[in-house]
Amino acid sequence: MPRSCPACVKNNIACRELMVDSRADIGEQIIAFLPNMRRFAISLCRSRDVADDLVQAACERALQHAESFIPGTRFDAWMLRILRNLWIDQLRRQKTAGPQEDVSQRFDLVGASGERETEARLTLGSVSQAISALADEQREVLLLVCVEGLSYRETADVIGVPIGTVMSRLARARKNIAAATGINPNDGRLGQS
């Protein structure tokens, strides 16, 4: 009678093959996702240099832990969570080392490219300034939901807070932006919630 492969060995092989697949795959996805990672990182750090270091560290971490990515789930949510966790770690370390960041260096997210001459561009610029002026916790949910297109659930998983918290932060973020940029100015009841 043929002996069947013990489950442990089978699993071992299965795991390794899955890992080969997921790592090869993840490498490609990481490279393709770099612009999005930078955008999110810049909005977190508000410094392009710091953001690029953060992106690099996040890619390294993602490749080391490729097996923790569950196939069939959203790669972008997984990647952005890694990136954000690294940033939170850095913030904690900075706090214990004393404040280092020069607040005056915080600037509007689109950057000083000087290419926004037209009226329409100026309007968009003011939106990005309004986003930049949001509290960190509001800005990140706005980025994840409205810009990166994550669901509330996925965003809650990235940030590690209940879904209700995501929703209340997101609603406040959007009302703040509306107030700062004059979206929906004719509605007198905007301030209510």
């Binding site: 043929p2 492969c5 490498g27 950057g111 706005l142 509605d187």
Partner: protein, 255 residues
Amino acid sequence: MAIFSDETIMSYVDGELDEATSGEIETALASDAELRARVDLFAQTRLAAREALEPMLDEPVPQNLKALVEAMVARSRQSVADPVPHSATAKRVLVPANDWQRLAAAACIAGLLGVTAGYYMADGSMEPSGLQIAAADPQALFAALRTAPSGEELTLPGSAERFRVIASFHDHQQALCREFELDMADKTKLTSVACDDNGQWRVRFAVNAPEDTASYAPASSGEALDAYLTAIQAGDPLSADAERQALEKLEQRGE
């Protein structure tokens, strides 16, 4: 008139609201200008945020960052391509001592069919010191190995086992070898290599795996086979003509 919270209206705009409540909002929208304005706020802010940050995606990724990440990805692929052989699985390779065991160490040998000592003799009898595939009738198998061209499937006489030769080739010692498959009665597939050893067929390699191609075992038994074929420096598969000539030569020598 129903009072909807900001979160409810926002969920509606973001497509995250249940159908029943969405229906209520849609009904109310027809007659409620204030509700329309609130819906509008959440729709416009979503769009505005997206548009405002869209240009950041067009920003070229700094060359050094891109190069660093690409190098990381390449290194990671390399480390996966050369895994450390798994010692526990190495023990499962139950074929005569050969250095290919080392090569096949990472592969899962799903269970060699009772490989016992014995040659297939020219007359179909067995010599106790060679190798035998327990489930197959040696005589029928030997006859099939001697005559069946590659690519042809036949049923071994006296059994339900379907037999087909995948390819014939010469090993590094110029012995004629045949890779063949047997569909066993228990729905497993035996992949084997038998080589001519001075007029006797000797089973050099055998691996049995579930026939279900969706499982992982066939892929890893293929790995083991590849490792084995590499180790014996298997030549290219013979053409149909070359195969026929090689089998005829063997037959003449055996007579």
